[in-house]
Amino acid sequence: MAATNLPTNAQAQGGIGVTVPHTEHDEHHHDEHHEQHWLFKYVFSQDHKVIAKQFLITGIFWAILGGTLSSLFRLQLGWPESTFEWLSPFLGRWIEAGKLNPEFYLALVTMHGTIMVFFVLTAGLSGTFSNFLIPLQVGARDMASGFMNMLSYWFFFLSSIIMFTSLFLETGPASAGWTIYPPLSALPQAIPGSGMGMTMWLVSMALFIVSQLLGGVNYITTVINLRTRGMSMGKLPLTIWAFFLTAILGLLSFPVLFSAALLLIFDRSFGTSFFLSDIYIAGQALNHQGGSPILFQHLFWFLGHPEVYIVIMPAMGMVSEILATNARKPIFGYRAMIGSLLGISLLSFVVWAHHMFVTGMNPFLGSVFMFLTLIIAVPSAVKTFNWLATLWRGNIRFTTAMLFSIGFVSLFISGGLTGIILGNAALDIQMHNTYFVVAHFHLVMGSSAFFGLFAGVYHWFPKMFGRMMDEKLGYIHFWLTFLGVYLVFLPMHYVGIAGFPRRYYAWTGFDAFSQFADMNKFISIAAILAFFGQFIFIFNFFYSIFRGRRATENPWNSTTLEWTTPIVPGHGNWPGAIPAVYRWPYDYSKPGAAEDFIPQNVPYSQTQSSNLPYERDTAE
């Protein structure tokens, strides 16, 4: 792909804009496209749009599974005294005498976390939209390396297969929590899930990291090298800035997780002692000495914290884009938005130990990380205020994508603010590992990132499949989910302030955690209903692929380049030359303009009536 890509880009330097000179090279390009075997067109495709859909559909599969797991453990938490005999046809021997096996409960929370964080919100969200939007919005025929991009998906696929298979092991999948802290994750004597289940978890994650790196290198290279003529970094849509910085974060932090996984594999299989020391377990003193479980946590969170920004930044980018489009207003403070993304990206590397205030780490280190952590609230606050200012005096169309974007902002505020409490080392002493933390991150990175994902799917569905998703079903889906999320996670804060520890199979043994049994039941009911609400989306998604209303080229009257392609862009994206870019992506409702949007590829020479004093064509 790279080979055909560069010449066409170069050729775009010549004839630009509306006229479409069909050169020989283009003909050649298209012939190639038609001859493709279906296997290479739909399965082992190197087309970024097909790969994006592969990521999306795999992500949807994982999301259903992750949601199902959460419904199972919410049943246990809501009704700790009940028997679940009726589940034994599905769960088999994990139901023991009508009770959910406590080790299986831990496996459920572990796999729910792993699946949601990595497989859905990293691969499914960033994988889908970075792939789909980067070439389309920067004006490239495809990714820098289509082949590597294809590999990225198939490594993810392989990793998925391994993780999925591990669910059916006799000893159960990994059960040491999604953070897999050793020694629990290192010793099968400690929990059966740390046997084969953990081995498969580590292998799967190693492949997953390979997939992330292959994808990340590609995203970065494409953004840097394959922008169309006139598309300077200062004219990139905020989506691209977000994907670009996300990829950089991933590229710099995932290898550290890989090293942690590798050392853990050594400890598990080859008798080394990186993370293990002074352990007496199952009637035996182990020979490991001198290792530190805390070292693992440093390595894990060195990825783990940037990871939450890897999850949320693509959502931020898409929400910025969708809010501006549907408020028919430029995003407020475009440069501040880029600046805050940069600030978040930088700071995200130096806050990791706020997950470790009470691990026994030196208190001075705790002070430093508290300081750095609370600073990160500043760029996040700037983003929020800018989103609000974007809505102010807009002319808002409530498309489903817009609803989810507004929902995103609301959830991001609600979840983000409690981070100010958790980032405070003194307060974290009480709140650490309680349901306050669970509520916090489910709002700010779980639910908001999901809302970003939904917003993205509803918004770009017409470009993906050439059809529209049903709006009415979308509205129902949004309101159910929005309400559901708040009903689940707001009361969860109360449970957390009361000090309820997370990853507890039941709290009934403690006097301190004896209140809130009704609240937990309520949360469970809300969670399970909200989960079932998602099937409305699934139905809408698959139904609309085949039977949805046909889309037009630019159904949302948007300004970015992807909407200048045909309704369903083929391999290569633009049938003719790639359009050049003359202006920033947010010329909405510009005074003096004929319409309330001016696409990026319209030269200033054609919009004399709306040009601002300093606006002249520089891309000639």
Binding site: Y181, K329, A425, S589
Partner: protein, 357 residues
Amino acid sequence: MIALGILLVLVLLLVVFGLLFRLQILTSIFSGSFTRDIGMSNRVNAILMLVFLIVGGAAFAWSFVDSYDKMNPPIASVHGYEMERLFWTTMIVIGIVFVLTQILLFWYSYKYQHQEGRRAFFFPHNNKIEIIWTVIPAIVMAALVFAGWKEWTKITGPAPKDAVVVEVMGKQFNWLVRYPGRDMKLGVVNYRLIDATNEFGFDLTDKNALDDFTAGEVHVPKGHPVLLKIRSRDVLHAVYMPHFRVQMYAVPGMPTKFWFTPTKTTDEMRAQLGKPDFNYELACNQICGRGHFAMKLNIVVDEPDDYVAWFAQQKSFSEQNPDVLAGFKQKTNKLVENEAAAPAAAAVVTPAANASL
């Protein structure tokens, strides 16, 4: 049979929903609203935004007030009160921001809903506003960091010299408790010496360990600083005592600590809560396996006199387990004998070995 029935009902329901959905699409095609860009639904959604703000906000306020008493575990330590103050101060700060931003978000969504013929206000940026709302959060954050930092350094600072020392050791799936005995010094423990009787791994060749005693629950005196030493002998655990606002990991191979001053005896707390069987509890708060949710240890806060009396009654581990002590003696004797049997080495080693005993 019932399962089959439920399945059938579900399938029928899905079919009904499917038909309704088709019907709705067909009617919207005939009425023309199918292809209309912005219809009634825009207005409905805008109103729902406002409804969500008002009804949701009211429900949140009500549920918060309703649960307020339940969500505040009673406080029983000196730093707990200060932490509580810092927590609710921060909550008020973020609460104000929460209320303001959510109101603006939903109000703007309602107010600036699409209107035919209106154009949005082209307002790409304003440096002054942006500087203001960057600087204000920065100042607020700085204040919160400072308050938190002061509290944090106070809590994590060195324990007073006269603090009562208690050691807890986490294991799958319960807690072991050890006191230093009359000499106020904890003896050496070694994980390789652990067995069914010597669960702590006491090294009884260390004379500091001889008067150390274990206990089934933690006793601490009211109004006196307590230094909790924390160990784990297998996987990670965490000591979590919600009433004392204490939390610290138990890490195998790396002893940790936390000090606090209890302010209310168990009896006082029972009277205050009106719960005669109330106990202070220590819970494990780091996932550690099957029994994680049941790793409970009771803490008893005594009046200082009662504590001293309780302490005096305890029998040391070595006294309670004479055969373990004898085992250690035998081992050391054998060591000495072996050294005596090797005369060449004995001359150098024996005095040193004896000295270390």
